[in-house]
Symmetry: C2
Subunit: 398 residues, 2 copies
């Protein structure tokens, strides 16, 4: 219902479109920018001059092409100079990275997160990483912002994210502690800090520059604490009315199934999580990611018990994917976190269930994939959140 | 990634924004348009002059306000002059209406659709309705286009909709018959004809001017042939990569449950459709909407068997709604078609299931509603599809 933009808004849109293009595609000739953005050559020249003056891009002549005529200048994002900090808070580890425009990881740090470590005690670790990395930042660099990807279901469209007890954070009463604010208090120099859950951040990253690139409808399944989905529909993140969409792990697939931490029974995540896998393999006493991965390895070695367990989990995995495919008709489903290994071990079962349970029209185009960015997806996605402000209005934020 | 619009595109956007505003909100003062659209008074004056010259709106002075000063002119959509045709093809009836800009039903026709009536034989009936209604169209009227809402799962983003055998159309081999094209051959004068399924059309109508107005995230459940959903996320229709999203009826909720026509077992629609209700009430031999509604009525009269059947269906209805609420975190869920009556009879069971199965954060904001536009939702939504072209570029299409 909003009216059209002003001339000044158009200029900003054009600057943002150009910067976004090289942020996603990397070095690009002016000629290609002219074609891809649908702007004339003089406009492209004016825009690149402004962005170069702000230190966001650089231009140089391409290598000798051997062809006659003046070659088109090549525009590059200033990846080593313009950067964001990205943090990933996971069940069992903490990571931080310095990521340059264009999605280039310039520096990184990682530490184990002891079970039950309190939020308050995790944040100083991340702050320490940032201070360390900041020492090697060259003079004249441009800091854009910070993004955090955090395990568990904590999402608000306005970024005022609340920590939930089942996110893997130890302790109670932290529900109302805004994570971005808490980190900002320790690291006042790196504000603003945008917060997302790990599934959403990973979906954004794979969509921008990974296995979901070129698809408008994407489901990124992430298993860390429980099962979350980062969902992209029509090219945009699904957030829901209150910011809590994507709780696919609590889709009930097995009425009367095992009790779930949410109070329900037979939730999808109770049928496919690490505990379900260990239980199916007769190792109900074991816990954790490593124990689950040992079962995947045992199945690969031919252990019959482990193979039966993988088949069972694969069936339930395919069952839930079929429901999501019927509902969303996605172009691609990505299996992230530790779901990646279970999917790879049980891909045939998953596909078979999908084929028998989903409607042909809904499933015929869908690709099943693992993350192309691997474990970096959450970090790169967190950085994308931080870059978003710059890309929307390059000269205001730069 | 697209660059900003040109001056001419902005003018068209502004014309569209103004016309869309009065199409949705009805008569609006210039002063309110200035505020709502964020444009200055002279721009609003120029835009209304252009739209009035094209016969799309009219302007007149408001009634005496009793206040000093010149009152702001009131802008109205030319509802009786600018119109679309809308068609609704349902399992057991055919409807057509002439609908004016602003969503006003100007004229309507309806006939029963005999079971098994072929597509070819349904379309001449609709064409006859249009010819009849067209006789009373005043000279100088503006015909905008036609929209069809059709039962069943037939959707393509490009409007080249294919008829599916389980849509209630009799016969086989009609899968590849584009409905809009077939109707256009009979009624060449009313092209273009846009086609949507009934759930999508109803969701669009309730979102624009009904129970979902003001919500960005909407699930409209429609039962006619099977269960479809028209889903709106972030204010836009969910279509999916290939145009087949919304097949919530084939979400499996009861592994090992009753066989479904899709080849699977325990699909949501097999647990909540008319047959399930009749079966639960011990009337497995009866069929059809009327028989199902008699059970709803018997339950209201206190019939214990019928009440038990309603409870059972209500539980499964709430079960599936809980899954969708966890996945989408919608602002509102609307129960349309014959689901309306089942929902009203079992509302407490549905809400109770929702409360026990959906996460608090996902469900706390959700409203459960019946269609505010009643049975007209599909027709009005079909007309909205036809108006969309005009609203996107009023002077090109007008």
């Amino acid at each position: 219902m909003r009216a059209g933009p002003s001339q000044e808004e158009i200029r900003r849109q054009n600057l943002g479109a150009l910067l976004r293009y090289v942020h996603i595609h990397g070095a690009t000739s002016r000629a290609e920018l002219t074609t891809s953005l649908g702007l004339n050559r003089s406009t492209i020249g004016a825009l690149t001059a402004e962005l170069a003056a702000a230190g966001l891009i650089s231009e140089r002549a391409p290598r000798e092409t051997g062809r006659a005529g003046r070659p088109s200048l090549v525009v590059r994002p200033e990846s080593s100079r313009v950067f964001a900090y990205a943090y990933s808070i996971e069940v069992d580890r903490l990571r931080a990275a310095r990521i340059g425009l264009g999605g280039v990881v310039l520096d990184r740090r990682q530490a184990d997160r002891p079970p039950g470590l309190l939020a308050e005690d995790s944040l100083p670790l991340l702050a320490g990483f940032v201070k360390e990395m900041h020492q090697s930042v060259a003079d004249g660099s441009v800091y854009v912002g910070s993004g955090v990807a955090v395990c568990g279901r904590l999402r608000r469209p306005d970024g005022a994210v609340h920590i939930r007890p089942d996110s893997g954070w130890a302790g109670n009463g932290e529900m109302d502690k805004p994570l971005g604010e808490a980190l900002g208090e320790i690291l006042p120099s790196v504000r603003p800090i945008l917060v997302s859950n790990a599934a959403d951040a990973s979906a954004v990253a794979e969509h921008a520059r990974g296995a979901a690139n070129g698809y408008d409808d994407v489901i990124y399944l992430h298993r860390d604490v429980g099962i979350d989905a980062g969902i992209i529909v029509g090219g945009r993140r699904l957030t829901g009315q209150g910011g809590y969409a994507g709780e696919v792990g609590h889709m009930v697939v097995h009425p009367g199934g095992r009790p779930c931490g949410c109070g329900s029974h037979g939730c999808w995540e109770t049928e496919i999580d690490e505990y379900a896998l260990l239980h199916a393999a007769g190792q109900g006493d074991a816990i954790g990611r490593d124990a689950a991965l040992r079962i995947v390895e045992a199945a690969a070695r031919g252990d019959a018990n482990a193979q039966a367990a993988i088949r069972q989990i694969g069936d339930w995995l395919g069952f839930g994917v079929a429901n999501l495919v019927n509902i969303f008709n996605p172009g691609v489903v990505i299996f992230g976190g530790t779901l990646r290994d279970v999917y790879l071990a049980a891909a045939a079962r998953v596909r078979s269930r999908l084929n028998s349970l989903a409607l042909p029209a809904s499933r015929e185009q869908v690709r099943l994939r693992t993350p192309q960015l691997g474990e970096d997806a959450a970090l790169i996605g967190a950085a994308e959140l931080a870059f978003e402000h710059l890309l929307a209005d390059p000269l205001d934020a730069g």
